[in-house]
Subunit: 436 residues, 2 copies
Amino acid sequence: MATEAGLLPHVVIVGGGFGGLGAARALRRLNVRITLIDKTNHHLFQPLLYQVATAMLMPGQIAAPIRQVLSSHRRANVLLGEVEGIDSENREVIVKTPEHGAIRVGYDFLVIATGVQHSYFGHDEFERNAPGMKTMADATKVRNKVLHAFEAAEGEPDRAAREAMLTFVLVGGGPTGVEMAGAIAELARLTMKEDFRRIDPQQTRILLVEAGPRVLGGFHPDLSTKVAQRLTSMGVEVLTGHAVEQIDDEGVTVGGERIAARTVIWTAGVTPSPVARWLNAPADRAGRVRVRYDLSVPGAPEIFVIGDVAAYEQDGRPLPGVAQVAMQMGAHVARTLAARLHNDAPPPPFHYVDKGSMAVVGRNYAVFQRGDIRLEGYFAFVMWSLIHVLFLALPNLRVSVFLQWVWSYFSGQRGSRLIVETPAAAAEEPVEVIRS
Amino acid sequence: MATEAGLLPHVVIVGGGFGGLGAARALRRLNVRITLIDKTNHHLFQPLLYQVATAMLMPGQIAAPIRQVLSSHRRANVLLGEVEGIDSENREVIVKTPEHGAIRVGYDFLVIATGVQHSYFGHDEFERNAPGMKTMADATKVRNKVLHAFEAAEGEPDRAAREAMLTFVLVGGGPTGVEMAGAIAELARLTMKEDFRRIDPQQTRILLVEAGPRVLGGFHPDLSTKVAQRLTSMGVEVLTGHAVEQIDDEGVTVGGERIAARTVIWTAGVTPSPVARWLNAPADRAGRVRVRYDLSVPGAPEIFVIGDVAAYEQDGRPLPGVAQVAMQMGAHVARTLAARLHNDAPPPPFHYVDKGSMAVVGRNYAVFQRGDIRLEGYFAFVMWSLIHVLFLALPNLRVSVFLQWVWSYFSGQRGSRLIVETPAAAAEEPVEVIRS
C-alpha cells in the first residue's frame, strides 16, 4: 500500500452528491483519512431541486453544507475545488481551487462520483433559452425566469406577446419534467391566483414535450398513462412522440409547428462528467465508465467510479442514474475498502436493491413502483413526501421542509417567490500554489 | 383632481420598503387605485439583512413577495421596474422595466419612498473590495465572501496569507456593523468550531472600525460602552476614532497602519436616491428632500416624500433614517390623502413617536433605548428577537424565522451556509413600449 510512514491510508472522494457523501459516511468506521472534493460547498438534494425552481422551497432548505455533514468525522477533510484531471501514474488528483489555482492531491484510494450535467445533444445553442436543472445555480436561474415571465406578462399590452410570456415549455418527460409541469401549474393556478390585476394566471399554458412514446419512460406504462391524465386534468398539455427541433428567443418548434414561448426548460438529457477521459478507461456509449464487479476501474483497483458516471449492468441491463444506486454504490466501496485494509475476503459483487421509484404531480398525487408493486394517488403522495423529508442530509432541513410543506399544503402559498439576481462574486486573482 | 372620468384617483408609490409598503397598506381603506413600483419583487426586512450575510437566515426568510403582501388589496397593482425620473408637469413617473423598456405611469398622487444606497464618500474604488449591505444581492455577495474566506484559509499553506484570509474588517460602527461583528464572531467561534481540519476558526480576527468616538453613536454613551465591552469579550477588536484611509486587494489602512485582510465590509455610509434631482426640490446637505409638515414637497402638494429620502426636523433635529420613521410617515400620508379626498380638515403635522431603538450583539445580548429608558443584556435580547419576528411582513416568515432562531440558539448551527454564485439571469432584449 502506498501509504507514507505513520500515515493512515488516504481516500480521496470526488463529488459530494449521493454517491460521494454516501461513501464518506460509510467510511467513517474505517481507519482512513478522507478528503472529499466538491465544486460547491453543499450537498444538493437534487430530487427536490424542481421545488426551488418553482419557488416552493428556498435554496438553503435542500442544500446541506458538506463540512457540517462531515463535521463530527474528524479524519474527513473537505476541499472546495473542481477536478480537472487525474494523474493515475502518480496517484494524484489535479484540482482547480477558486483560491489557490491548480493543486495536486495525492491518494491511496480514489472514489469518483462526479455525476452528470445536462446535455443538449449537440444543440448547445439551446442552452441560452432553455436552461437545464442540475445545480442550485440552474434552479435559481429557472426560478428567476419563471417568476419574471408573469411580471413581464402583467405589463405587456400586446395580446400575442402576453400569451407567449404565459407559455411554459418543458422539454423532457422524465420525472423532473413531469414534476416541474405539475409545480408550475400549481404556482400559476393556485399560488398566484389573486396576485395579478391585468393577467389571469389561470390562463397560463404549460406544455410537456417528450420525444419518446410516453412520459416517465422508466415506469410501467399504466403509471405513465395515469400521470399523463393527471397532468392533463391540471391543464398541462402533454405532447409525447414529439421531439423539439428548435429553441430560440421566440419559442420552440415541435413537430414542425412553432409555439411562441418565453420560458423553456430543458430536462431532456444528461451527459456524464469526463471521467473516462481522465482515466483513459473503457466507457459505454453514453460516456460512463464501465466498472468491474467491485466498482473499480479495470486495471486500476485503487480507483472506484460510482453513481451516474458508472456503467454497471445487472440482470443484463444498465442501472439507472438515480440517487439510490449512487448511495448503495458508495456503501459498497466502503465495504470493499474495509475488506482490503483488513485483508479479508472481498464482499460479493455489487448488487443493487431497488427500493422503488417515485414521481409526484402537484399536491395529492404521486406514483410509486417497486417490482410488481404499483401505487398511485394520494397515499403515494404522502409516502413520497415522508420519504423525501427523511432523506434530507441534516435534521434541521427535515424539520424546515416538512413545516414548509404542511404550511403550503393548507395555504396554497409557497416558500420563496424571490427574484434575486446575485452579482457574480467579485473575481479574485487565484494565487498559483502547487502542493504535492 | 386630475382623475379621468369614472376612474378612482391613482396613487403611485415608488419603493416597497417600510415606507412604501406602509403607505400601501394604510391606503387600503381609501377608495383609490394604487400602483406600487419597486426594483425588486420583494419587500426586504432590512434589519435582519445582516443575518443573511452571516448565513443565519436564508434570503427567502426575510423577503416577502410584494404581490403576495398586497394580494388581497384588489385595487393595488405592483409594477417591477426602476424609476428613472419624474415628469411632475405631466404627473408621470418614468419607469425602466426589465421587460418593456421605459414606460410612463400617470399619477394623481405620488408617494416616493426610495430609500438610500450605500455610499463610499467619494471613494467608489472601495466598493470592489468592501461591498455594502443594502440589498439582498449585497447580502448574498457578502455571505459568499465570508464563507469563501474560511475555505480559502483552510487550503492556504502560507501563514501570513492564511491570517489575512481569517481577518474580517467591518467599516462603520453603527447597528449593522456592530451586529455583523457579533454574528461573524459566532459564526467562526461557535458554528464552524468543528468544521475545519487545518485552520482553527477560533483564531479569526474581527475588527470593527468606527471613525466617530464610539460605536452606536445614535445610542446613549453608556450603551455604546457596554456594547463595545461585549464585543471585546467576544474577541472583536473595536477601533473607535479611526477612519479607514484605504481599502484595496491586500487589506485596509487605518490610522496609517496596514492591516492585511481579505474580507472588508462597508456599513459606514449611505446616500439617498436622487429624488431631489428628479423633483428639482430643496434638499438638505445629505441630499434628502426637505418636506413640508404633511410630508409633501414644497410647491407640489400631490407629491409626498417619506422614509430615508425625506429630511424632516422634529424638536430641532432631523429624524433618523430608520424603519419606524418610514412606517409612521407612510401611515401619515394615508391620513392626509383621506382628509383631502373626503374634504376633511388635514391631520395635524407629522409627528414621529419613537418606540425605541435596539441593537443586538450575538446571542443573549442586546441594547434597547427609548427616551430615558435603557436596557441591556439578556432581557433586551429576548425583546429584540420577539419584536423582529413580529414585524416580518408575512405570518409564514414569522414562524420560519422564529423556529430557525430557536433551533440555532440550542444547536449553535445556522440556517444557510450556502455558497451559490447565481449567474446573472439571461439577458433579455427589452421591448420598447411607451404607455401613457
